[in-house]
Amino acid sequence: MARIKLFVPLIIFLVLAALLYLGLGHDPRELPSVLVDRPLPAFALPALGDDKALDQTLFRGGPHLLNVWGTWCGACRDEHPFLVELAAGGIPIIGLDYKDDPAAARRWLADMGNPYQEVIADGEGRLGLDLGVYGAPETYVVDATGVIRYRHVGILNAQIWRERIEPVYRKWLAP
């Protein structure tokens, strides 16, 4: 019994060390999303460039990516070519032009290619607020029933797509 007691401090130390070590690998900027596994918030917003009204039924018919971007967002420029590539590969992407100038956004798409099936123009950031967007770019996987299944904050690149997002997308693609 006394022998075992000798090891108590060592055990406490090891447990603490393990916890702190795990904490090192944890990115404090990545907030857990409250909205994962919840339906996309309802919205009624115009499409970028015309007055067509868009709402959450846009996401019916299969899983989609929802990409939050803006011309004011430098990282979105870095991300854009990969989105164009994804769209060329047949991945349906809906854009959310967040708190942006519509004219600048249209120029951006004309210059760099348009990977989006539709672009929701969220000039005032209402949908962004409902989604809890705190930075751009952000990318969500929304399933065929309009439920959010994944959220990625930051640039979407080939590695993140392959490792984190594609598996979720494929999972919800299956009937």
């Binding site: 907030l31 857990p32 409250v34 708190k99 607020l129 809890g132 705190y134 930075g135």
Partner: protein, 155 residues
Amino acid sequence: MAIAGWASAPGALADVEIEDLGSAVANARYATLIDELRCPQCQNQNLAASNAPIAGDLRAQVRRLLREGKSDTEIIDFLVGRYGDFVLYRPRWQPATYLLWLGPGGLLIAAGLTVVLVVRRQRRAPPKAVLDGAARATLTRLLDENGEHRMDDRR
């Protein structure tokens, strides 16, 4: 800006919009709310201290909800429903935070109990007879000799 970031005391405000919310009570509630709510982007600042655009948006939401007559709880629920528990500088009382709330007090009590137990056990233990008769005699002799020496020194 940087200095405002280190201090989270009320009063360390960013370019907070000066806007009268109609009553001193509402203005005071606004000040308390933006002091206790955390900016999701600039992670170690509250809404009151942050100049980030998102903090400005959230302050505007708080003002809107206050003007709509929402209670503090409703306003906090609104933000937590979108940004998660992360926006709270004062964590809620819920299963995930029991350890957080009770941990420090629990550790203190455990440490106090340990100290009390150890001290009691030591007091209760009978003093051990360390020396046998012969050793005791030697010790007495040595002490006596020392005593004489001391007397000698003094002389």
